[in-house]
C-alpha cells in the first residue's frame, strides 16, 4: 500500500468514525451550551437509539432477559433500515423531551457536579434496564444489503484508495447529510438562531422577550435524536450490547465536546472528525496505541487550549 493510498484510506475511515463522534458531540454540546446542563446520560440515548434501531430494522432472537423469561423468543419489527432512519430519531426526540422535563429541569440551577452525578445514576439505570429486559448478551451488527433499490453491501473500488466497504461510504454519506441538516437548522431557521443565541448568552435572549425555556425541550430533543441516530448507525457496523452506551458513546461525546469547545456545533463537527482521523490513523499501523493516542490528544488540548478549538466560553463551576 503506497503512502498516498494509506493516507486516503485513513481519511475515509476517520470520516466514518468522526461522523459518529460528531453526531454525539453536537447533541451534547448544544444541550450544554443552551441549558448549561451536563448530560452523562447522553450515552444512554445512544444505547436507546441502537436498541430501538435494531428492533425496528430486524427481528432478533433473545437469549436471556425478562422478555425471554416471559416466553418471547423473537423480538423486533423487521421493517428495515429506511423506516428505522425516520423512526429512531423520533424515538430519541421523545425520550429527550421527557428527559428534559423530568430530569434535567430540576437540575438547571444546581452545580455541574450534581448534574453529572444524577445523570450518571440515570445512565446506569438505563443500561441495567436494557440488560434485564432484552438481555446482557451481544447481538451481531447487521448492515442492509440494499437501500432504495441500490446495492450497499460488499466492497466498492474507489480511485486511489482501492477496495473499500460500500456500506461505510453510505454511512459517511447519511451521517453527513444529517449533520448538514442540523447545521442548516441551526444557521438558517429562527429556532436555530434562538438556540445559537442561547448558547452564547441565554439570559440576554430571555431579556429580549423570547421564551427560551420553550426551546429548551426542543434542543434537548434534538440532541437526543442525534444521539439515537448515531446509535442506529452504530448497530450496522458494531456489535450491540448494553455497555455500548458508556463504552462507545458517552466518553467519545465528552472528548469531542472538550476538543471542539463547549457550545460550538462547528467545533463538535471538526472535533469529531479530528478525533476520528487520529483513531483511524493509529488503528491502521499501531492498533494497540490507538485509544491511548486519542486520549493523549484530548489531554493536550485540555492543557494547552482549554476552551477547545472553536470554543468561546469555558464552562466553570
Amino acid at each position: 500500500m503506497s503512502a498516498v493510498q494509506q493516507l486516503f484510506s485513513i481519511l475515509l475511515n476517520g470520516l466514518q468514525l468522526g461522523a459518529i463522534f460528531a453526531l454525539l458531540g453536537i447533541g451534547l454540546t448544544i444541550i450544554l451550551g443552551t441549558m448549561n446542563f451536563l448530560n452523562l446520560a447522553h450515552g444512554a440515548l445512544y444505547l436507546i437509539g441502537a436498541y430501538a434501531g435494531m428492533l425496528i430494522m430486524r427481528v432478533i432472537t433473545l437469549r436471556t432477559g425478562l422478555l425471554m423469561d416471559l416466553g418471547i423468543q423473537n423480538l423486533g419489527l423487521g421493517w428495515g433500515f429506511v423506516i428505522a432512519l425516520f423512526l429512531v430519531p423520533l424515538v430519541g426526540f421523545v425520550v429527550g423531551v421527557l428527559m428534559e422535563r423530568l430530569v434535567a429541569k430540576p437540575f438547571y440551577k444546581r452545580p455541574h457536579t450534581d448534574q453529572l452525578l444524577v445523570t450518571f445514576g440515570l445512565a446506569l439505570i438505563v443500561e441495567e434496564l436494557v440488560k434485564q429486559v432484552i438481555g446482557g448478551n451481544t447481538f451481531q451488527s447487521q448492515a442492509p444489503d440494499t437501500l432504495l433499490g441500490l446495492q450497499v453491501s460488499g466492497p466498492i473500488s474507489l480511485p486511489i484508495v482501492g477496495g473499500f466497504p460500500r456500506w461505510r461510504l453510505v454511512i459517511i454519506l447519511i451521517a453527513f447529510i444529517v449533520i448538514a441538516l442540523t447545521w442548516l437548522f441551526m444557521e438558517k431557521t429562527d429556532w436555530g438562531l434562538i438556540v445559537k443565541a442561547g448558547t452564547l448568552d441565554s439570559e440576554m435572549v430571555s431579556l429580549l422577550g423570547i421564551r427560551i425555556d420553550r426551546s429548551y425541550a426542543l434542543v434537548f430533543g434534538l440532541g437526543a435524536a442525534l444521539a439515537a441516530f448515531a446509535g442506529l448507525i452504530g448497530t450496522t457496523f458494531e456489535t450491540v450490547r448494553p455497555q455500548i452506551g458508556t463504552q462507545r458513546a458517552l466518553v467519545p461525546a465528552f472528548l469531542v465536546l472538550v476538543v471542539g469547545g463547549a457550545g460550538s456545533v462547528r467545533g463538535a463537527i471538526v472535533g469529531g472528525i479530528v478525533l476520528g482521523t487520529v483513531l483511524a490513523g493509529f488503528q491502521q499501523s499501531y492498533a494497540q496505541w490507538a485509544d491511548i493516542a486519542m486520549y493523549a490528544l484530548v489531554a493536550l488540548v485540555l492543557i494547552f487550549r482549554p476552551q477547545g478549538i472553536f470554543g468561546s466560553v469555558e464552562v466553570e463551576e
Partner: protein
Amino acid sequence: MSTETEGEGGSVGATGLTDSDAVLMIASAVALFSLPWVLVDGFGIVAEMLDFSIGGYVGLPSLILIYGIVVIGYNLLLGYTGLLSFGHAAFFGTGAYVAGVVSQSVGSPIVMVLAGIAVATLIAWPIGWVSIRRTGVYFAVITLTFGQMLYFWALGPGSWLTNGDNGFSEVGTGPILGTFELDSAVFPNIGFLQSYTYEYVFIAILALLALWIANRILKSPYGLIFEALGQNQQRVSFVGLNVQRYKLMAFIISAVFAGAGGALFIMHENYVHPNTAYYWIQSGDFVIMTILGGAGSLVGPVFGAFIFEYVANVLSGLSLPVIGAIGSLWRIVLGAVFVVIVWTFPKGVYPGVRDFLVRRGARDALDRLSDRVRNRGGESE
C-alpha cells in the same frame, strides 16, 4: 503547639478536640473489630431464623474495608475540596498492579502496600499537576482521560506487565512479618471468631490508620484550607494562599489512599483485570460509594462502601418471593437510590442529616438559654 502560647480558650478547644478524636478512634476500632462477627455470624443467625440468605461471607468485611480506605481518601478530594474526579481508578489500579508485580519477588504484604502507594503517588503528581488547572467538568474529563489512557495501556501495550485482557493472577503474597499467613484464622480455637483472618486484621489496622490520618488532616489548618477550597476557591486565593498547591496536595493524598486500597485489593482477590483496576466505571463506583455514604463527612463514605459491597455481593444473591432472584438487578436498585440521594440531599446524606440535627440542637439550646434568662429575670424582680 504548646498551651502556653495559646490562650485559655485555645487549650480548652484543643483538649475538646483530642477527646473527640479519641472517641472517634475507639468507636471506629470497636466497629471494625465487630464488623466480621456482625456481618458473617450475626447476619447469618438472622438469616437462618428468617430462612433468608442475608449473611455475609468471610472475605466480605475485608473487601468493604479495602474500598472504605479508597473512599476515605477520595472523599478528601470530592467531599471537602469539591473536585469531582472520574479517574481515581488510575491510582487504585496502579496500586494493584504494582503490588502484584512486587509480590513476585518480595511477598511481604507491608512491602506490597508501600510499593503500591509509592508508585500511585508518583503518577498522581504529574496527573494531578495538570488536572487541577481545570475546574468542574473539565477536571472530571481530564482525570477520566488519564484513567482511560492507563486502561487502554493495561489492555494493550502494557500487557507484558499486566497480562492484558487475561488479567494478572500471578500474585505471590507471603505472610505478614514473615509469620502470619493471611488466610489463616487469628483465633482458630474460638468458634464464633472464625471469620477473623490475619488478612482482615491487617486491613482493619490499615483502615483505622487511614481514618486517623484523614481525621488529623481534616482537623489541621491544612484540612481547613481543603474545606475552604470546596466552599469558595476565590476567597482562599484572596487570603493569599496558593490554591493550586493545596489542590494538588488534596489530589495526591487521595491517590495515596487509592494506591493502598489497590494493593490490598490484589492481595485479597489474587487477581486483577483492567476492567476492575482501571476502567472509568470503577472510578464511578468510588463516586457512588462516597455520595451514598455522604460526601463531606469523615466516616460517611465507609458506610457507602459497606452499602455498595453488601448490596453487590450479598443482596444480589437473594431471592424474593414475588420478584424472584435479584441477581444483577442490584445495580438498578443502587442506581435509583443514588439518583434519589443526589436529588434530595444536595450536600450528601450525612451533612444533610447533621445540619438538621444541629439546627434542632441549636434550637433546643436556645430554648434552654432563654428559659434560664427568663427565670433569672424572675428572680431579680
